[in-house]
Structure formats: structure tokens, C-alpha cells
């Protein structure tokens, strides 16, 4: 019994300590983001890596999901003669929820893992120490460019994902389910509200911040050796995915609470 209590206590304290370290890392990242020096080239490279190179995976994910969503809504709606709502539900589903969340999770898989593995490898091969001895702050050189780039580029990726997802629904709706093309598009446009789009883009920015921050935090905290790199990468992806889903609930509540 004592052992169990000790284990619970140690686990709780360990969890709180980890939360504290993450909070300090986050605040340090924000502080460094607004104080010079700024590394423009690293920011540009991060923008390209996180933004442009993620377009194919974001586009394909959104396309297939939008198409599948149209089929599901049509099939489900048929149970109470509501097949006609396919364009509206695909639009609202993609823009409010599936677009930001799926893009966030795909970015967590593609970008968070890559950032965590790269920085963790730099840590175990003493490249981070080398940066410090070359009078370069690793937070400014490695973390800030990636976090700012992800925060800025994610709304664009989510916007692209939203449009391609709706397009996927449109293709299935018009080619497979027999919807009229013009009325499908008209229903989509008429039904979406400004706050749907704003919420989608804000979610994108928040998820981008989380994805890059987790990659950098776990990379910087990596233990020694190859297993340390592996553990950092796995931890970063899991943490990013869970925090993105939790943040999604909070943001949805904030935007659409009745």
C-alpha cells in the first residue's frame, strides 16, 4: 500500500515537473520570438519544409476525407430522407472540424516527428553544445524559426485542406451521388458563415504552434543515444496529437458554445 502511494506521489510529482518544464519552454519560446536576433534564413527554410512540402499529404488527406464524408452523410441522411444536406454538412464538417484536426494530426505526424528527430540527433551529437560555444542561442536558432513558421503556415494549410476537402465531397456528390454541380457549390457557399472560416484558421494557427513546439521541446529534452532520439520522436508525436485534440475541444467550445 505504501509502495502504491509512493508510486502515485512520484508519478504525480514527475508529471507536474514535466508540465512545469514545458510551460517554461513555451514561455521562453514566446519571449525569444519577440527579441532579436532573428534568423531569417532558418525561418524561410522552416516555412518551406513545414508549409510547402506538407501540401501533398494535406491535400490527399483532405480529398479522401471530404469524399468519404459525402458518402457517409448521404448514407446516414437517407435514413430520415435528408440526403440533400450533403453539401452543407460536408462544408461545415470540413471547415469547422475535420480540416483543422486532420491537417493538425498530419502535421504532427510529418513535421513534429521530423523536428523532434532532427533536434534530438543534434543534441546527442553535441551539435546543440556546439551552437552555444559558437555564441548562438539554440532557442533562437532552432526553436523560434520553426514555431513561428508552423504557426503562420498552418492556417494556409488548413485553408487549402478545407477547400480540397469540400472539393472531394463535390466530386463524390456530383459524380457518384447525382447532385447538380451548380447547386452543390451554391449550397456550400450559402451555408458557410464567416466565423466557421475564422475558427478553422485560428485552430490551424494554434495547432501549428503546438505541433512545432512539441517537436522542439522533446528534441531539446532528448536523452542520450539512438534510443533517446527514438523516445523523443515518439513522445513528441503522441504529445502533439493529444494536445491538438484537447485544444480542438477548447477552441470549439470557445467559438461555438451555445
Amino acid at each position: 500500500m505504501i509502495r502504491l502511494l509512493a508510486w502515485i506521489g512520484a508519478t504525480t510529482l514527475g508529471g507536474l515537473a514535466a508540465l512545469g518544464r514545458l510551460a517554461m519552454f513555451t514561455s521562453s519560446t514566446v519571449r525569444h520570438s519577440v527579441t532579436p536576433p532573428f534568423y531569417g534564413r532558418e525561418f524561410g527554410q522552416a516555412l518551406f519544409q513545414i508549409g510547402f512540402l506538407s501540401l501533398p499529404v494535406v491535400g490527399l488527406t483532405a480529398l479522401f476525407t471530404g469524399g468519404a464524408l459525402a458518402l457517409q452523410i448521404y448514407s446516414g441522411g437517407a435514413r430520415f430522407s435528408a440526403e440533400a444536406v450533403v453539401p452543407q454538412i460536408v462544408a461545415i464538417g470540413m471547415v469547422r472540424e475535420l480540416g483543422p484536426v486532420l491537417v493538425g494530426l498530419m502535421i504532427a505526424a510529418r513535421v513534429t516527428s521530423s523536428i523532434a528527430a532532427e533536434i534530438a540527433t543534434m543534441k546527442v551529437t553535441e551539435q546543440i553544445d556546439a551552437l552555444i560555444t559558437l555564441a548562438t542561442d539554440p532557442m533562437k536558432y532552432l526553436t523560434v524559426p520553426r514555431v513561428i513558421a508552423a504557426t503562420l503556415v498552418m492556417p494556409v494549410l488548413v485553408g487549402v485542406g478545407d477547400v480540397i476537402g469540400i472539393f472531394g465531397g463535390y466530386i463524390v456528390g456530383t459524380q457518384r451521388l447525382g447532385f447538380n454541380a451548380a447547386s452543390y457549390l451554391q449550397n456550400t457557399v450559402d451555408f458557410l458563415e464567416q466565423r466557421d472560416i475564422v475558427s478553422s484558421l485560428v485552430k490551424g494557427a494554434v495547432f501549428g504552434f503546438i505541433a512545432a513546439l512539441m517537436g522542439c521541446y522533446y528534441g531539446m529534452s532528448a536523452a542520450r543515444g539512438a534510443s533517446g532520439v527514438g523516445a523523443a520522436t515518439k513522445g513528441a508525436v503522441v504529445a502533439a496529437a493529444v494536445v491538438i485534440l484537447a485544444a480542438n475541444l477548447i477552441l470549439t467550445e470557445a467559438f461555438f458554445a451555445i
Binding site: 551529437t125 553544445d129 556546439a130 560555444t133 559558437l134 555564441a135
Partner: protein
Amino acid sequence: MITVRGLHKSFDNKPVLCGVDLFVARGTSLVVIGCSGTGKSVLIKCILGLETPDSGQIKIDGTGPLLDRFGMLFQGAALFDSLPVWENVSFRLRRSGRSQSDLRALAIEKLGRVGLGADVADQFPAELSGGMQKRVGLARAIAADPDIIFFDEPTTGLDPIMAGVINALIRDVTTEMGATTVTITHDMSSVHAIADNVAMLHDGKVKWHGSRAEMASAQDPYLKQFIAGASDGPITSLR
């Protein structure tokens, strides 16, 4: 120039440095020797400011560590994988306002000083052998003409001939620059090639400190055992 007094450092309540005292005069070369795990790397990281000591003082010309004055050659070279060799070498100077072509020219000049040709400049670290990586690391360490240069196990993992080449390069380059150097190693050939003075670290303390000439006649049992590589003596190790 470098003064270390009463330096203590522990990790997870395990003491690594237990009151280290050292002095390195300007323009001289100190080599710190000792068995693996005696805290040599921790000592150098404390001086560099990469680790925070639990207690003790480190003074560089009477002030604290100033990274702008330091150069460092890491054990594994620690070159940045994502940058070509010339950008690695000129990394410290990239924010000095110089043009890219100036930085590249400077990097090629420094590569020349460590015996590498301009053809290496555009290669990436992964394309180089271990010896070439060490040379690039040395070129990076001296690129900004620092006052103080640290070498962490400069010959580890190299064949004897390449180790000799690196030792000679370190000696030539640092003598030419007039830099103060601190080298940590357990390679006695490096000690003979590089050192003006030698300090032996054991159990987190400096057991012996003297000139290279004095080392040969020193009677300290720890130093004698280390130099001889003998298994019998006050230094115990697991077999």
C-alpha cells in the same frame, strides 16, 4: 588567465567534480588527463558555461566565461549536418555583417590552415572521413581567432597517423595564433605533442599539476600508473 577555484558539480547526487583548482596562464597549453568518467568533459563544459557548477569560481581574465572569446573542438567534431563545410567553418562569423563570398573565402583560408583544400568547402560533413571532420572542426574552432581554445579528446577514434597529424595541427595552429588552450585526453601521444602543462584529474580532484618536463620524473603514484597504463596501483578499475 583561466582560474578555476573549488569547482564542485554533481549529477543526481553523484559527485563528479569535488573541488577542482586549476590555473592556465595566457598563451600556454594545458592538457587535462585522467581515466574515463573522472569528470574531464564536465570540467571543460563548466568552464565553457555549458554546465552550471554547484559551487566554485571560474574566472577568465578576472571575469566570467565569454563565449565570444572561445573556440571548441568537440570529440565527435559536432559539425552541423545540414550545412556545407564552409558554412560550418564560418558559422560564428555569419552575423558579423560580412558578405557570403567573404565568409566563404575566409572558410577556405581556415581550411587551408588545417590542411584541407577548397574542394572540401562545398561538401557536407557526412561526406567526410573522421579525420577530415576533426580538421573541419578545428578550422571552425579557430575561424574567429579566439583567445582560448578547448579540445575535447581530439584524437579519439582516429588511427595513430591521423592522430599525429591532428596533434601537430593543434600545436602549430595554436602556437601561430598565440592562443591559450585546454585539451582533455587520455592519449599520452597528445600530451607529448600538445602540452606545456599537464593536470591529472582523478575522483573529481586534480591529483597532479605540473609542466610536461616535470611529468616524466614525477613520483605521484596516480600519474605514474596512468602514464604506464598499469593495472596495479591506486587507480582501481573494473576488469
